[in-house]
Subunit: 339 residues, 2 copies
Amino acid sequence: MRACRRQAVDATPVWFMRQAGRYMAEYRAVRAAHSLLEICKTPALAAEVTITAAERLGVDAAIIFADLLLPVEPMGMRLRFQQGEGPLLESPLRDEAAVARLASGPTVAAQLGYVAEAIRLVERHFGGRLPVIGFAGAPFTLASYMIEGGSSRHFVGVKTLIYRLPKVWAHLMEKICGVLEPYLLAQVDAGAAAIQLFDSWVGCLSLDDYVEFVLPYSERLVRAVEQRGVPVIHFGTDTASLLPAMERASASVLGVDWRIPLDEAWAKVQHRPAIQGNLDPAALLAPLPELRRRVEAVLKRAGGRPGHIFNTGHGILPETPVENVIATVEIVHQFTHHG
Amino acid sequence: MRACRRQAVDATPVWFMRQAGRYMAEYRAVRAAHSLLEICKTPALAAEVTITAAERLGVDAAIIFADLLLPVEPMGMRLRFQQGEGPLLESPLRDEAAVARLASGPTVAAQLGYVAEAIRLVERHFGGRLPVIGFAGAPFTLASYMIEGGSSRHFVGVKTLIYRLPKVWAHLMEKICGVLEPYLLAQVDAGAAAIQLFDSWVGCLSLDDYVEFVLPYSERLVRAVEQRGVPVIHFGTDTASLLPAMERASASVLGVDWRIPLDEAWAKVQHRPAIQGNLDPAALLAPLPELRRRVEAVLKRAGGRPGHIFNTGHGILPETPVENVIATVEIVHQFTHHG
């Protein structure tokens, strides 16, 4: 939490995106008995996998176990997860009528109360020893799934909707914000010490499109959360050219992937926010000496600047050996320890 | 050709990656009777689709119709194209022995003589009125297909091979260069006025990995071609952070995608090479007024600098209306005409 505010720390804090996930035997054991959505919607289970991962790894924060796509269900879309195929949304949005039919507002967000409840359980377990991070998908990334119906390579559906029906796009983004804002504030009320906004796929856009069609909505959510005194980690991948624009959304922390060296990331921003990143998650599959070299290279690029939070540049990959994740935490703490 | 050398031009030249492709009825008619590999390996057919596309669109260069992956066959790998699935390479490379078995050298490149022959036919057809662009996949992108066995999302196979077996990686890159160098020089001998080196997937790497594991090999190929007085267009996507390093390979032209505004691309390079790009290919699916706005936005970022070559930031998408591609050529020529 001190790093989010660019204050001095004993050692660089570290956590990982998708730190509770398929790469970990304890998680696979829970998944053997429950679907992904069951775990998300059962606060005791979501809290359990969150806590187990954080304790096993020795990280400095516990990100709540949830899925980016949970908000689409109460908005009126059907969501399925197919084995090895990623998420599938039925009847993806293609026109004005489909967007008009979507539900929005605090009553929709209230149906996601199980996430806040899981945060409450984790917060109670750690009793302040470890901060709990809440999260949501950012409006663009969520909209991209709702329009493409799943993951996408070229984002042709979302881009053509923006080009052809810019008012429908604006309406969709308003509706998404109308759910995400109360959803995130409920997570804050439940005890989230920080919020990460995942704009995972925003790097498919040009700078001009980002500024015109995405930034105002992300900014609205960042400001709503930060007004409560809770820092936002504003994360995206492929954002080397977007970073100065993303900074205008005024989050305390910018999360970047490995495609931009950390010293260049700092050089690109005006107000020196905290920066989170940016080990290539594939590096966690390297032999230990090579992994150590790569972790230290990230830390050298960070150069001990106040406000560095160590993380991977994207989620941990399923084939990652858990020992390598634990070793990374130790390397970061040892390398940066000041006392 | 003058733009490649940053000399003054009457109007900004324009061509498109994958300008002969599935979006065009004339191409689909040829494909109905022949497989992709048959077209590539029959110089008369490859020349026909190349010429038809260039003439239909009114572009300023004809890129030879071929496939990035052709060199893997004489190197000893089996290549298939599955309907809607992209390329599949059988027995992808995973260890030292597999790399050791690969063939390399001029005799391997000689088996790709059908590409040079097609270039000769196109060059003869245009008789100097339109330059013919030859091309190859850059060593990293080619290696990534050979290791992953096809397209990839996270490039985990290629990255872990680099981490675990850096000497095997170096050996693979040497073998690939040993084929690509004579392959590209044969294209030059056949009349290619410029060569594009497609490092389409290199943007998955961090800057440090690019410099250590990729740059020396790309540089070798660029220098071999440019020593013959033929400019190289060194293209990649997601290269915002890699651009200053890519420039060190010393190609006359850097090709960039839409993720980096063109004025920022120029600001990142020292020696002011020509720059090619960078309309988002999805913009070709926009209604005409919106397409015009987007084409003009690219031209405004280019700001009339000598050495701008207009192109999309990646290949034309199959669902693109051909009229929009033709309109784009006209917009670029009209907007930048100086006479």
